[in-house]
Symmetry: C2
Subunit: 206 residues, 2 copies
């Protein structure tokens, strides 16, 4: 008998490493039972955004009261808005047997680790320092000073990799996505998800 | 920096579960660096068998002296002949970065567990009691009494599954092979194979 409960797969890594692209590709593969978590936010929906699809749009009051009640797996304030992952939403999906992908930054992943130890934590690693710098510069909006600041931040973030279960180097999109698919598939074959049931044998033998 | 040492993948399970077919299919997929271990035996080569390809054919004296020296990962005597997995051969391949598949019975896997704890132990599980019985009967050569004996043996063997790292149910050949491929790929992404090296960052930042 195999454990039907879904897996929470946390995908994190320094900014500009390509987490978002990897997750989009992963979802495109239509892997059975795999879905991406939907965050809650207090920011206003943009014209093409749908409540419950892109985000759960909630009021600041609701958000703050949920924080008080410990109802987030992780949350953060970005300028004037809050963003977070509602615990109940994720736990319900896992109970239904869905595997849930959470794409978050290093700080968020740390909070999830404290709130949901059974998660599978995957750190996306840049192929090199140089390549990460290229990717940050390609995003184009950054001044030299900001790039340096981001690189220093990445240095601190990469130190956190030792708290993760798996490291996936993003040297090639296809290969990184394939590795994450494999990690999910392998985790489902782990002994602790399998309850060895010999009763069927016993009945026939005894 | 990623650990270049290969993985020893032990594939075991009750007789007639389909281990051999799974391993043949796995090798057909031409997975990079993956190869199957070659056993040593004291039996005479058949007309189409090649030394060092099908088996390492060695004399009884050599085999027994190797047993004395603890030079096998596992071995067994079957009627008048010995079969075993030479430790040095496997360790050399792993050092060269090859991943080595070992397809063996439950007793052999137990010996490997004692001699090489770092191995990845995969238990191939029949989809059901009934299906295993069908497969044993399909092999055709067995009398009713022998089938019962084999089923009782399978019952004892399946109890050993709890000592393995992964359980793969062989309900479908393609899916079982895919799962083993994923297990190997995922194991290579595990944190303990990855040495986080920040020196490259440091040089540029400090």
């Amino acid at each position: 008998m195999i454990d039907k409960k879904g897996l929470l797969i946390v995908i994190s890594g320094p900014s500009a490493v390509g987490k978002g692209t990897i997750c989009k590709e992963l979802i495109k593969r239509n892997i059975e039972n795999l879905e991406i978590s939907i965050s809650a936010t207090t920011r206003k929906p943009r014209y093409n955004e749908v409540n419950g699809v892109n985000y759960h749009f909630i009021s600041k009051e609701t958000f703050e009261s949920m924080v008080q009640q410990g109802e987030f797996l992780e949350y953060a304030q970005v300028y004037d808005n809050y963003y977070g992952t509602p615990k109940k939403y994720v736990i319900d999906r896992l109970s239904e047997g869905k595997d849930v992908i959470l794409e978050i930054d290093i700080q968020g992943a740390k909070q999830v680790r404290e709130n949901y130890k059974e998660g599978i934590f995957i750190f996306i690693m840049p192929p090199s320092y140089k390549e990460l710098k290229n990717r940050i510069m390609k995003r184009g909006t950054e001044a030299q000073k900001d790039i340096e600041k981001r690189m220093k931040c990445a240095y601190e973030e990469i130190k956190q990799a030792e708290y993760y279960n798996y490291i996936v180097v993003n040297d090639d999109l296809y290969s990184a996505v394939e590795k994450i698919y494999c990690i999910i598939t392998a985790e489902k074959c782990k002994l602790n998800r399998y309850h060895i049931d010999l009763s069927e044998f016993k009945e026939e033998l005894l």
